[in-house]
């Protein structure tokens, strides 16, 4: 219980620090701006404006949330060490694992707070463009899409925190951005490397496909806008995949940070 309290205390401090970060508000403004822009764009389309609003609004949340998770994640541990703010905390009876987990929860909490604001704006926008006053999508499908998006953002934050545990914040930002981009392209990587005549290259393609985080698995927006059924079994499988991968990343991050010699 005490350990959980410590973890939450670190998370709370991280949220307070993150909320003072001006760049966060810049990204939030970008996200909300894109959601508002979707309303303007939907007025110049032909046919189905609610699709444009939904697509652009959810994508705005996804892009802004990902940028926030990366920026806050890489600075959570590496930034604290670079500014020597981590040492007084680690000098207390707090394990390094608790510190890393607390930082992760703080980053995810901050991202989720911002996502909540954007989600409220997006939902209001979608509702106002839905036909005949009724919300365009089923509540289950809409909430499932948002829930999977939240899991994806947590995974991105975990990647950023992982790199932040053993490199500088700049290197961590480059590496975690690269891994996040690659995580959106696992299928394409496998496809293109699979075209090679070399068995080794094809094996690398397969290896990357199975080991890199597959963010497409955590994607339900296309089904939502095409009004296809989001199967419960698929959703559960996606949640299990994301949760397991997230847990693995956090364990790896804490293990690395516990063994690291701090300067």
């Amino acid at each position: 219980m005490t350990q959980l309290r410590i973890l939450l205390a670190i998370a709370r401090v991280t949220i307070h620090e993150s909320l003072r970060d001006r760049i966060l508000y810049g990204v939030l403004a970008f996200g909300i701006g894109l959601i508002l822009l979707s309303a303007v764009l939907s007025n110049v389309t032909l046919g189905w404006p609610v699709r444009i609003v939904t697509d652009l609004s959810i994508s705005a949340i996804s892009i802004s949330g990902s940028v926030m998770a990366l920026l806050l994640g890489v600075r959570s541990v590496a930034g604290e060490i670079e500014r020597r703010l981590a040492y007084p905390v680690l000098a207390r009876p707090i394990s390094r694992g608790q510190y890393v987990l607390g930082k992760f929860v703080g980053v995810v909490g901050t991202v989720y707070l911002n996502v909540l604001l954007m989600a409220v704006a997006a939902t209001a926008m979608i509702a106002s463009y839905s036909h005949e006053g009724a919300f365009q999508y089923t509540v289950t499908a809409y909430l499932t899409t948002l829930a999977l998006l939240l899991l994806k953002l947590a995974l991105i934050a975990a990647i950023a925190v992982l790199f932040s545990c053993f490199t500088s914040s700049t290197v961590a930002f480059i590496a975690s951005t690269g891994l996040t981009l690659a995580g959106h392209l696992t299928g394409e990587l496998r496809f293109f490397l699979g075209k090679s005549e070399s068995a080794l290259t094809r094996a690398i393609g397969d290896g990357l496909y199975w080991t890199l985080p597959d963010f497409v698995t955590l994607e339900a927006l296309s089904k939502l806008v095409h009004e296809k059924e989001i199967l419960t079994s698929q959703t559960l499988a996606a949640v299990a995949y994301g949760s397991c991968y997230l847990a693995a990343l956090l364990i790896l991050a804490t293990t690395i940070f516990e063994r690291r010699d701090l300067p």
Binding site: G47, W48, D55, S59, I63, L181, E219, S222
Partner: protein, 318 residues
């Protein structure tokens, strides 16, 4: 750049950087005015450039390049549907800003291809592009895109419907149009008149037997009760229409031989016709000797459709 000029630029830059009052001076020694003037001139030049581009292209909405959709699809990074929306907006603006009769929308196929390559499930893009291409007179392209849409979204009834319209109205292939209409009529959400229209097309094409076979095939599949009733009614109509057409054929033969219509159907004295008229449907056939026409109360309106090819040239739309 000559060494002397480079040296002078460098020393100027260093002096600006080293001097803490630089920004203050920039604001107060008239530099602000010069910067704003230059920015204004740049804006003016930009506007001139834009207007000249519009003049040379005929429209400001003409896309400069159609990038490979497969590449941009990869770069969408999980936001394919949003990228497809942006491409769709590009297509809409292109269509809206160009006169179809003058331009024939030469980039329409390429722009539609971008949308559907990035999001192959974008049903409305297939539908609207198909209609626009047909409007631009490119029926083959229209059918190609509509049939591709049917492969990706077989449950969208609008796609076979518009393809059927193309085959019927522009290509005078009533059989193919009827097949597609029948397919559309079986899809959820389709209007009930589609099955009726399909039977009319089959009738007008002269392929009643083919239509009946397809209807029998459709009725053998599991269907919703409303749709089953509708298709059974259409089968009944086709059966009546077949009897009417068979009787009319015999009357035409009689006319050709005797140069007058028969006074009654019994006068035709044809064993095949007698067998037809003795059937349940055949007994309902009514013959009008003054006009030489047959009808049935089971089919108040004959199953025929408007065919553009049948319209005399003088009456055809320009």
């Amino acid at each position: 750049m000559k060494p002397r000029l480079r040296e002078r630029s460098r020393s100027l830059l260093v002096s600006i950087m080293d001097n803490p009052n630089t920004s203050h001076r920039l604001l107060h020694d008239g530099s602000t005015g010069r910067v704003l003037s230059l920015l204004g001139a740049a804006l003016l030049a930009h506007l001139i450039h834009l207007s000249s581009t519009v003049e040379s292209n005929g429209s400001d909405a003409t896309p400069l390049a159609v990038v490979d959709a497969s590449v941009s699809g990869v770069l969408a990074l999980g936001h394919e549907t949003s990228l497809a929306d942006l491409y769709w907006l590009e297509l809409v603006q292109y269509v809206g800003a160009n006169d179809s009769t003058a331009m024939q929308w030469p980039l329409l196929e390429a722009l539609a291809e971008k949308v559907i390559r990035v999001d192959p499930m974008y049903g409305y893009a297939y539908e609207a592009s198909g209609v626009l291409l047909a409007q631009a007179g490119r029926t083959d392209s229209s059918n190609e895109i509509l049939l591709r849409g049917m492969e990706h979204i077989p449950e969208r009834w609008q796609l076979p419907f518009f393809a059927a319209f193309n085959y019927w109205h522009s290509m005078d292939e009533l059989d193919r149009g009827a097949d597609l209409l029948l397919r559309a009529s079986k899809l959820p959400g389709s209007p009930r008149y589609l099955a009726s229209l399909a039977t009319r097309l089959y009738s007008s094409s002269g392929n009643l037997d083919e239509g009946l076979n397809l209807l029998e095939g459709a009725l053998a599949l599991p269907l919703d009760p409303l749709m089953r009733t509708e298709l059974e009614k259409r089968r009944e109509d086709l059966l009546v229409e077949r009897v009417l057409q068979q009787t009319e054929a015999k009357i035409s033969q009689y006319r050709a031989k005797n140069e007058r219509p028969p006074l009654s159907l019994a006068e035709l004295d044809d064993p095949e016709l007698r067998a037809i008229l003795s059937s349940e449907i055949g007994r309902t056939i009514v013959f009008d000797p003054t006009l030489g026409e047959v009808s049935s109360p089971l089919l108040p309106e004959r199953l025929l459709v408007y065919r553009p090819s049948d319209v005399p040239e003088a009456l055809a739309a320009p």
